[in-house]
Amino acid sequence: MSPHIVLRVGAKVLIPVILLFALYIQFHGEYSPGGGFQAGIIFAAALVLYTLIFGLDAVQRAVPPVAVHLLSAVGALLYIGVGVWAMFAGGNFLEYKVLAADPHLGETMGIILIELGVGITVGAVVISLFYSFAGRTREQEN
């Protein structure tokens, strides 16, 4: 890539902060605005910034497309898995308060787990959308 030194240094400073902010939004969503959806988008936006500066090949070496495709299914399965776990624990589908002895603890556990599932799926889907768009070359004009 061309040596845009300001962009490269600036991005290297910004990207870890963006990733950390995404994790904060993810796991602090019970107390402040945010949750899995927003966290996934912000996580994906950090990778988009990385792609814009360092190119698609570099980011696909760091985050392989196969892993992204797998993760987008893993998040949804985690969500459904929590629901089924609640069924096995004696409640209804997605009834979190049976997950632990204390109903509040159960609710909090369930919410954190499904928000994690939402975050994984949303982030992975947005990254894979971006890969799909960015990985293609222009159609032949005829």
């Binding site: 939004i25 969503g29 019970e30 107390y31 402040s32 605005p33 945010g34 949750g35 959806f37 927003q38 988008i41 912000i42 994906a44 936006a45 988009v48 698609l56 090949d57 696909q60 497309p65 495709h69 987008s72 299914a73 998040g75 949804a76 969500y79 459904i80 629901g83 589908f93 997605l94 979190y96 109903p103 509040h104 603890l105 609710e107 909090t108 369930g110 919410i111 499904i114 928000e115 599932g117 939402v118 799926t121 949303v122 992975a124 889907v125 947005v126 894979s128 959308l129 971006f130 890969y131 799909s132 768009f133 960015a134 990985g135 293609r136 070359t137 222009r138 159609e139 004009e141």
Partner: protein, 157 residues
């Protein structure tokens, strides 16, 4: 660019309306990612549209006008802005506001409603997002074949 400005203004408006969660989503999705995807789509398409000599479709115009008229007519029944008697403020919202902290045990009641009271809806949203991702993968491909190294040709001499 106009899309980005619109999303940013919409996000500011949501903050003013005390809907910080929605504002965060709008800022991240509308002003951030969707612009990138739009630019990606613009790069992929050609710059001129195809010329086709079909006649104007009068039936389509009529259908569009009727649908639009019906939608505008539907907005007549909307409650007034900031009306405390609106149905959205009467049905289950007071219970969520009063009881959710005691029932769920976490302070952000938006998260409680999204993840616990309306958990099945959120599951549906996640599955919609997942299937949208799968559909784009089926239509556009994974974007990986481009960097596959070409197999070296063997000279048969």
């Amino acid at each position: 660019m106009l899309m980005g400005i619109f999303s940013l203004l919409a996000a500011s408006l949501y903050v003013l309306l005390d809907a910080v969660d929605v504002a965060l989503t709008e800022a991240a999705v509308g002003a951030g990612v969707s612009i990138i995807l739009m630019l990606g789509a613009l790069v992929l398409t050609t710059s001129e549209e195809k010329v086709h000599d079909a006649k104007h479709n009068l039936l389509a115009l009529v259908v569009v006008l009727i649908t639009g008229g019906a939608l505008i007519y539907g907005t007549m029944d909307m409650p007034n802005f900031a009306d405390p008697q609106a149905p959205a403020h009467q049905h289950v919202a007071p219970r969520y506001v009063q009881d959710s902290v005691d029932e769920i045990g976490i302070p952000n009641m938006v998260t409680s409603v999204l993840a616990s009271y309306r958990g099945l809806d959120t599951l549906g949203e996640v599955l919609v997002i997942f299937s949208a991702g799968v559909a784009v993968l089926l239509l556009l491909g994974a974007g990986t074949y481009r960097r596959r190294p070409r197999p070296p040709r063997k000279r048969t001499k």
